[in-house]
Symmetry: none
Subunit: 219 residues, 4 copies
Amino acid sequence: MQENTDTPMQEKPSTVRRKREKAHRERTILDAALRLFVAKGFHRTSASEIANAAEVSVGTVYFYFKNKEALLIRLTEEISYELRKLVGSEFSLSDGTLDGFKGAGLSFFKDFCIPHPEKVTLLFREAVGHSQAVEKARKKGFTQLTEDVRKAILFMAENMDRPLTNPESADVLAVSIVGIYERVAYNYLFWKEGETDILKVGEDAVAFLVAGVERFLKP
Amino acid sequence: MQENTDTPMQEKPSTVRRKREKAHRERTILDAALRLFVAKGFHRTSASEIANAAEVSVGTVYFYFKNKEALLIRLTEEISYELRKLVGSEFSLSDGTLDGFKGAGLSFFKDFCIPHPEKVTLLFREAVGHSQAVEKARKKGFTQLTEDVRKAILFMAENMDRPLTNPESADVLAVSIVGIYERVAYNYLFWKEGETDILKVGEDAVAFLVAGVERFLKP
Amino acid sequence: MQENTDTPMQEKPSTVRRKREKAHRERTILDAALRLFVAKGFHRTSASEIANAAEVSVGTVYFYFKNKEALLIRLTEEISYELRKLVGSEFSLSDGTLDGFKGAGLSFFKDFCIPHPEKVTLLFREAVGHSQAVEKARKKGFTQLTEDVRKAILFMAENMDRPLTNPESADVLAVSIVGIYERVAYNYLFWKEGETDILKVGEDAVAFLVAGVERFLKP
Amino acid sequence: MQENTDTPMQEKPSTVRRKREKAHRERTILDAALRLFVAKGFHRTSASEIANAAEVSVGTVYFYFKNKEALLIRLTEEISYELRKLVGSEFSLSDGTLDGFKGAGLSFFKDFCIPHPEKVTLLFREAVGHSQAVEKARKKGFTQLTEDVRKAILFMAENMDRPLTNPESADVLAVSIVGIYERVAYNYLFWKEGETDILKVGEDAVAFLVAGVERFLKP
DNA sequence: GATGAATGAGCATTCATTCAT
DNA sequence: CATGAATGAATGCTCATTCAT
């Protein structure tokens, strides 16, 4: 049993590979679960179906995840995080101008909804109406996203030197904006029969919400 | 064979009572189901629990409703209809002014969310993420409500002699507004820890959305 | 309330009508049950389906028949009786000659199977494998029919002055003959794909069984 | 990486044992089901009763068999196959003589009915009058058995140099013979009160049917 | 006699989860 | 770590039967 003494604390190569494989397995399972949850619904998807789709055994699914719900929670968290990172980075990229704010909004439609409709479905449909644990994750995701939007409004207001008439209103505005994103995305992505230009729709929605925000900024 | 010629086609008293009782049973079952679905979630509510809560037998539940899903669909339809009637009547009461529009919006919070939080929960949480049949009912409810809002915008625009810069945008505005209502209601009713003055919040939300609408009206 | 005194013991006209109507109702229900049992199977036919088909209420079905099983038993008995009467009368019509015996056999195919395939189905398929009570009726029907055949054999033997080599064998012959009728009918009526001339088949079967019987007659 | 080259493709001992255990479980369940179906009837036997009798859990029953019906179908198939193998082997053992033909017939009573009355019951009573799937299996079993008998007749005819007067009649003869076996077995095994010597009965039945067959052979 | 709403025992089936191998 | 057979609680739903009207 020789230890690699040159680089202490360094993990054994085999351990590294193990970790990579482990991460890979986890990913595969999560991807399969996402696909199935969206296609058939959480309740109509059984653990063994997920296992099949991921080409592992049921036991393996339960080795990586405590239970089926844990998969949904994990997906909810991941997607929430992804969305936040995307929108958040857009906001921080923006220089606190109205245009930057608009850009971030459009990015939601362009860079999230269009390339990842299944993630929209999971967040806005499949994660809804489950146990407290799932609801907690969903709430956390929405709350953080709302908080990001709220801060962006505040930052923009400060940057533009047009403070909010009532700073407390920022929260309502943020919640409203998230509500707009949510419903507009779901509506035009899944409920509209005719092919809609989601980007055109997104532009209108963003114009609408920006005007709403301006209403709360001092002149 | 004497016929009651005064009131031809009048049903026998006993038949009338039967019908009333029948309608009453249905109501009782629906009410019990609503209560349980909201309290425990649709899936964690069993048919026999509903029967118990309604003080009837399981068989009776299934005599009045094809299956458990039918209860959820029926509740979704009923609540959607109720909401539409409320908001719609407010809109039609409004005389096509911005104030009328605002009033209708506030009414949603004041006359629907506050007195019937359980209906909000059913519509915005429990009815989500189920079979196609439920989704269809949910879609229909939202679509009709959206349509009402859209027409209200158009009517207001015409009445104020400030036509929409782009009439096609009315749909996006309506969808956005519904999204605001939905998320604001859910957020402040169920997710906010501190006691929030939902009416205050509603006022801000309405001010926000009205400003958004004005942005699309020609000056 | 005048009584018709001319013909004492005569039933009141209204009572007569009642009886006729009662018998009619019963018939209608039995016919509906037969149709449904054959089409869907006994277990897959519900009492209310029978009621619907007979255009009466479930309660009425249960007024005339103790339970669903009673319908099956009654049908089994009726059809057994009908079959016996037909075959039996043919046998008694026959003058104790081989030709008479053959004629009775052919009559089974010609006058029973072809005009009433549904009765064949009930007797040979639907009445099988149920409760003891049904099995008892089925057994009785078969036993009596077998007994008729046995007596016909004995009568013919006597009449032809060719006694059975072993009189006790008559029973086995009769059972065998009934078995032939049963399976040949069922096979060619329901299991053969191609259109078979059931009468041609019947002739062969009868020739077969008559030869078998002759084997047991002294020369 | 050493390969066991002596016995390539040999399975691991544990795998082999697993397979044997699996087969054993299946057998145990089937045996329990057969016993119960015959004793109580298919419909009056519940899945959990089968599980109890087989000393496994309900889930295990459903792990091995799609549903309760699948058990009945499987039993029908197995018993049909067994019967065919027995009778078929007897026929093929027979050298195409009448005696061989008789022997095969007697074997049905001696080697099948007497040692396995429960199988007779399943085939001739419990498998009757169920869904299309069961009927299909039953039909297949009977059809194949009939076909075996038909071929035996033809073979015998050829071997004895006494061709059939009408070759097409062979099918009717075979069907008739199967009918005789079926009803004679069921009658004397389950319907006769007095203890009957089934072998004596079988001899008479076989004598009867052989005479019937001879009637169709040219002299 | 006729009705049909109400009953509730009964059952097939599913599926999340575990654990011996 | 991976497997997949085994578990059994849980539940939706049916339907024969009753009985008040």
